[in-house]
Every structure is written in C-alpha cells, then in structure tokens.
C-alpha cells in the first residue's frame, strides 16, 4: 500500500505534474500577464530607447545585444518568485502538509521546477518576440536558438535552486524576495548585461568579465549571434553545473528541515 503512492518515478512525475499545475494556478492571470508579458516588453523597449543611441556610437547593435540581458533578468525574477512561494508555503503549513502526505519525496521539487520552467519559457517567448519586433535575430540557426532557450531555462532552474534554499528556511515571503532583489540587481547590472565589459571603469572590469552572469550572457549572445560558440557555452555550463551542485545540496537540506 505504501509503495503505491510514494515510491517510483511514475509517482514522482505524476504527482510533480499535479503540483506544477497547482503552483501555476497560484499566480493569477492578471499578475502573470503584468509580470511576464507587460514588464518584459516595457524593459526591452525602455532600455532600447534609453541606451540604443549611446551604444550605437560604440558600434553596438543594441537591439541584438539587449534581449539576452532581459531574458537573464527575467530568469532571476522567475527564481525569486520560486523563493517567494516556498516561503509562503512554509508559512501557511502547505509544505508540512505535503511532506506528511504519502507522496513521492521529490514531487514538491519536481512541481516547483515544472512551474518555474513554464514561467521561464513564457518570459523567453515574450522577450524574444518583442526583441524580434525591435530587430533581434537568431543568426546561428535553429539548433543554436534551441540551445539559447535551453541554457536560459537551465540558468533559471539553477538560480531557482539557490533561491529556494533561502525560501525554505524562511517563513516571510516578502522579506525573502526583498533580500533577493538586493542581491540580484548588482549581479545583473555589474555584468555584460546592459553595456559591454569595457564600458565599465577599469578597476571593476576583472569582476565584470569573470562573474557567472557574464559567462551565461556571453554564451547566450554567442548562441544568438553566431561565431565561436563552444568556448563560451562550455564556460557557462561549467558555472551552472558547479552552482547547481552547491545550491541543490543547500536546498535539499533546507527542505528536510522545513516544517
């Protein structure tokens, strides 16, 4: 009787899918449209309007340069949402309830990853479509474009593992997401997201060039623009693998202790 609902891959994915559906339904339609559609569009056109001319002087086509940055920004936002929902699930006892049910131990995690992936894909689609209107093009063929999407979702899930660990030790969703905003903003801005590394003051350029967000952005741009892709993609994948290893250990620990 116990084997029927708790063990096995069938349960893991079946129950994970149900919980993913539940997680997605927790976001109201209006909220999803505003955070996942309207805001990315505002950001793409807003940054273009603001900095497009400034960077043209430097010989950069900002419509091609910017969309990967907005994608990375929204992957962070997906991960912060994950932390927010874990913390509120913990505060209102949902997490304890799921953990006390005879369901697969990993189903809650699969459910979270499923919902995060859906949100990530939605944001990527909206941003790429908006970018397309502004002049963004995948120039390295469909396979590279798929790689672009896969790397973006992989980045979202990796960061999500880290933010979830934080969400799981807290019972205060608002303060978790406020804290995470303060952490993510510098990481994103002091990277090659909005301007190339050489536009930064010299003293901070080593950091800009060697931090993981830049690694992921360089790989995304290589996949979008063409040119040599193997090197940047390998660097990005190694970063993500390393971070994922650390983050998932932390997240699993936090999950086991969360009541």
């Amino acid at each position: 009787m116990t084997a029927r609902t708790e063990a096995g891959l069938g349960n893991l994915f079946g129950q994970g899918l149900l919980l993913a559906g539940r997680n997605i339904r927790l976001n109201s339609v209006a909220d999803t449209i505003s955070t996942m559609v309207i805001f990315p569009v505002i950001f793409v056109f807003g940054f273009l309007a603001l900095f497009g001319n400034l960077l043209r002087v430097r010989g950069i086509d900002y419509a091609q340069f910017l969309p990967p940055a907005i994608v990375v920004q929204w992957m962070f936002s997906v991960a912060i949402t994950a932390a927010f929902f874990f913390a509120s699930d913990r505060r209102n006892g949902m997490l304890a309830r799921y953990r006390s049910l005879a369901i697969s131990r990993g189903a809650v995690v699969v459910g979270r990853m499923g919902a995060d992936s859906v949100r990530a894909l939605l944001a990527i689609a909206v941003i790429i479509a908006t970018g397309y209107v502004a002049g963004f093009r995948f120039q390295a063929g469909p396979l590279a474009a798929l790689g672009f999407v896969a790397l973006s979702v992989g980045f979202a899930l990796t960061v999500s593992a880290g933010t979830s660990a934080l969400g799981l030790v807290s019972r205060d969703p608002e303060s978790v997401s406020a804290t995470l905003h303060v952490v993510y903003l510098p990481l994103l801005m002091i990277s090659s997201a909005f301007v190339p590394a050489d536009a930064f003051p010299g003293w901070i350029q080593p950091f800009v060039r060697n931090q993981p967000v830049t690694a992921v952005l360089d790989a995304l741009r290589a996949l979008a623009d063409g040119g040599p892709t193997a090197g940047p993609v390998l660097t990005a994948v190694l970063w993500l693998a390393g971070l994922l290893a650390v983050f998932s250990v932390a997240a699993v620990q936090a999950f086991r202790r969360a009541t």
């Binding site: 029927r4 609902t5 339904r25 927790l26 505060r91 006390s100 049910l101 005879a102 189903a107 009541t259």
Partner: protein
C-alpha cells in the same frame, strides 16, 4: 498493529540548545481519542511533527499504526492524516479544487477524487461554498476544509494539531461537532490543544504536557481526582472573618470572587467547615461540595493558569 494506534516511548527532540521535548511517553489505543494538553510552548506540536515524520527524533522511539517512525517513515505517512496548526489549503483555489488536488496526489482517479471531494464537502457543511475560492471562507470554514483535505483518503490514525486555536466561539463549536462525529465513527485520534474545555469535551484520555514533559495522564475524571478529593465552596458573611477562621483550622483555603474554596475536602470537612464558621459567629449563605474542574487540575499540576484564565 499490536492493538495500538500510536505508541510513544521517551520521545526527545532538541533544537540547537533548546530542548523542545525532554521526555514524552504515551499511547493511543485503536479507536481512542487522546488529547495532548498543555500551554503554548509545551512541545505538543513538536511531538506531532515527530510522529508525522516531519522532524527526526533525537531520542526514544515511536510507532504509528504498527510502523516504526524512524525505520519506516513511508509506512507511517501512508497511515496518517495530519491536520496542522495552520489551515494548509490554497487561498486562490476553490474548496473543491483543493480537495480534488489532494485526492489526485494520493492516486485517486479523476472521478473518484471528485466524488470523494463532494462527499467531504457535504459532510463538513461546505457544499454551498464548494466552488468559491478559499480566500472568501471564514476561519471556521477554512479549518473544516483543512480537516477534510487530510481525510481525502481514509487513514487509520488522525493527528489534529490545535484544531480550534484562533477560531471564534461559533467556529470552535462547529469544529467540535465535526471532531465528535469522527470520534463516533471510531477514528483513532491524537489531538493537541491548549484549551481544557476542548480536551474535556473531546478526549477519552488526556496527556498533560508542560515544558516538554508529561506531568499527568488519565481520563478527565481521573485527572480531576488527582487534585485530591473534592472542593468545598462556601459563601459567608462577613467574608474576611470567615476566611480568617477557616485558615486557622484548615489547609488549602483560598478565595476568589466572594467564594471561599477549601480543597482536599471530604464529607468530614463539610461538617468541620460548618462547625468552624458557627464558632466564629459567621453567617453561612451557601455551602456545597463539588468535584474540581480541569482548570484547577491544570493549575495544581503546572503551577500556572491555563490559556483561558490568562486571557480573561
């Protein structure tokens, strides 16, 4: 299932430097309702969290429906229904959607999950609100839905952690009726509460916990006897004079709200009180013997008042 729904032996749980549960042992027989009664911070919820496999134990052993909590947590989870301290249901979903989700998670097919949801909604008086989002529910309705969610699949043992904390009197009354219904059906139930009245009303046996230890155990009647004999209540004028006279001759004399109480009394005491008062020239308005209330038991055993007394 060795005749026992729940068996707990010397359970111990420590959080860092804080000992939440020092040593707790008790048992819940199949078909019995046991109330784990104690003030806030006594360790009740920690005990329930250990028994429902949410927290690992730091000492002792426990089994639920014949499954060892440490060795066979999956077996335990397949035998329990847990209703936690918070109404753990999703606000934006409807009552029905919540119940169907739990049914589907536990491998009921679509139709069975829908049928079971309907049955529980009717039984817990939630049919009218079934398709409203839970956000619009009253506190009492949320708790009943929460309980229903834990009963979607029938389980031999039910844990109810503070089912009425934070509810208004009407909500509490409704919840009591629901729990009384489960009891009549022969459910094996472990209930934690900080309300004496609740334990008195719902539980066959009470385990009194304070500071992570069991300080008394028995049926409500047995616990009341533990205070020792009966209580003699006297109304007399002038009160001060009566009090002084009684205190000279008898132990455990106290006064609240114009009533003088003598504990540890028997029929002999009654005669003694009458004699003392007559000797002191005090006029007795009323005198009677009664059994102690659980409040008095609680106070005697823990040295502090129960929640209701503190609140009023």
């Amino acid at each position: 299932m060795h005749g026992a729904g729940v068996e707990v032996e010397r359970l111990r749980k420590v959080f860092g430097k804080k000992t939440a549960v020092e040593e707790v042992s008790f048992a819940v027989e199949l078909g019995a309702v046991v109330g784990l009664l104690g003030p806030n911070g006594a360790g009740k919820t920690t005990v329930v969290n250990c028994l429902s496999t949410l927290l690992p134990m730091d000492g002792g052993r426990a089994s639920v429906a014949g499954h060892d909590v440490a060795d066979d947590p999956a077996g335990v989870r397949a035998s329990i229904a847990l209703t936690g301290q918070f109404a753990a249901v999703d606000d934006v979903l409807t009552g029905r959607q919540n119940l169907v989700l739990f049914g589907r998670l536990l491998k009921l097919d679509r139709r069975a999950a829908a049928a079971r949801a309907e049955e529980l909604l009717t039984r817990f008086g939630l049919s009218d609100a079934a398709d409203q989002p839970v956000r619009s529910y009253s506190g009492g309705m949320r708790r009943r839905l929460d309980l229903a969610a834990s009963l979607v699949v029938k389980r031999p043992v039910i844990f109810l952690d503070e089912p009425t904390t934070g509810l208004d009197p009407a909500g509490r009354q409704e919840m009591w009726e629901v729990v009384a219904g489960l009891r009549e059906e022969g459910a094996t139930l472990l209930l934690t509460t900080q309300y004496l009245e609740e334990a008195d009303r719902l539980a066959d046996r009470i385990v009194l916990v304070d500071h992570g230890k069991v300080i008394a155990e028995g049926t409500p009647g047995e616990l009341k006897r533990q205070v020792g004999g009966q209580v003699c209540e006297v109304r007399a004028e002038p009160r001060e004079q009566a009090l002084r006279a009684l205190r000279e001759r008898l132990a455990e004399v106290s006064e609240t709200g114009g009533v003088i109480t003598v504990r540890g009394a028997d029929t002999g005491t009654l005669a003694e009180v009458v004699r003392v008062l007559a000797g002191a020239g005090v006029e007795t308005d009323d005198i009677r013997l009664r059994r102690p209330t659980l409040d008095e038991v609680f106070f005697t055993l823990t040295g502090h008042r129960s929640k209701e007394e503190v609140g009023s």
